[in-house]
């Protein structure tokens, strides 16, 4: 697996380079918005990847609650952290697109607000994981992750159920894309999904390694204290 990992990363980098070329060069310029519309090829795939990672976090958290599996917990931490990175990109590229198109950076629109709430929920999840180190922390975090995941469908369906300024979906119900744009969009969706999986996998490996180091340190300090106890025992007896 150690040899396959760099090869997969190299293939992912190539796919990302190709998808960026499709988005910036091949895809035609949109008539109303102009070149700024090309932000869409990064914004939507980032949102899709973040949602998938938050769902991975949900399944891993439920798996941890049922089986108390340490690997499921490690996957939950990894997917939440990488999901927050992608969600941050959504929250940054969105306003950069909105400024020239809407004339404002931000509005308290239902889609934007629920996305910000989603980001805040998962940031609080990461803060909980970072600063609390009790036996109950993974359980509390898993429960928080279940509540956090409930916001994902709310973000996605908000533009269907509420009046909103946010553009309607470009695929399926409510929208359509010109074939060359759809091609560029689907390639970017694939590239970002693969990239998200690779980053999450890397973060998962890091989490597993961190736990191994923690265990090794605990064992080391335990053995160290046992040795010092053996050394200090005769001194203790003589003092008595």
């Amino acid at each position: 697996m150690k040899r396959v990992f760099p090869i997969l990363w190299a293939l992912t980098a190539l796919l990302l380079a190709y998808s960026t070329y499709q988005a910036l060069v091949v895809a035609p310029t949109e008539q109303t918005m102009g070149d700024v519309q090309r932000i869409f090829y990064y914004h939507v795939p980032s949102a899709w990847t973040a949602f998938c990672l938050f769902f991975a976090n949900l399944f891993a958290s439920v798996a941890y609650l049922i089986w108390k599996n340490s690997k499921a917990d490690a996957l939950a931490v990894a997917s939440a952290e990488v999901g927050v990175v992608f969600c941050t990109i959504v929250l940054i590229t969105g306003p950069i697109w909105a400024r020239p198109v809407w004339g404002i950076w931000w509005t308290w629109d239902i889609r934007l607000t629920t996305t910000l709430v989603l980001w805040l929920i998962y940031v609080s999840y990461l803060v909980l994981r970072r600063f609390s180190d009790t036996a109950q922390t993974p359980i509390l975090a898993a429960v928080l992750a279940i509540f956090g995941a409930l916001d994902v469908p709310l973000v996605y369906f908000s533009i269907w159920f509420f009046r909103t300024q946010h553009p309607q979906p470009v695929m399926g119900k409510g929208g359509s894309l010109a074939p060359p744009m759809l091609h560029a969009f689907l390639i970017n969706l694939l590239a970002f999904s693969v990239f998200g999986v690779m980053v999450c996998w890397t973060r998962y490996r890091l989490e597993v390694l961190r736990r191994e180091v923690e265990q090794a340190q605990a064992m080391d300090s335990l053995l160290g204290s046992e040795t010092s106890e053996k050394v200090s025992l005769p001194l203790g007896r003589s003092a008595r």
Binding site: V85, I89, I96, L206, R210
Partner: protein, 43 residues
């Protein structure tokens, strides 16, 4: 700012965030590997 500048800003911001995040992951990996090496040396 014109449309191209907004486009560049969005793409640069995206790769800057990913680059910084991947950089921190690489640093955390090397730190943990070093700790593991030190622990195995100690034994």
């Amino acid at each position: 700012m014109n449309a191209i500048e907004f486009l560049i800003a969005a793409y640069v911001a995206t790769w800057l965030i990913h680059g910084v995040y991947l950089g921190t992951l690489a640093m955390r990996f090397s730190k943990l590997r070093q700790q593991l090496r030190e622990l195995s040396k100690g034994k």
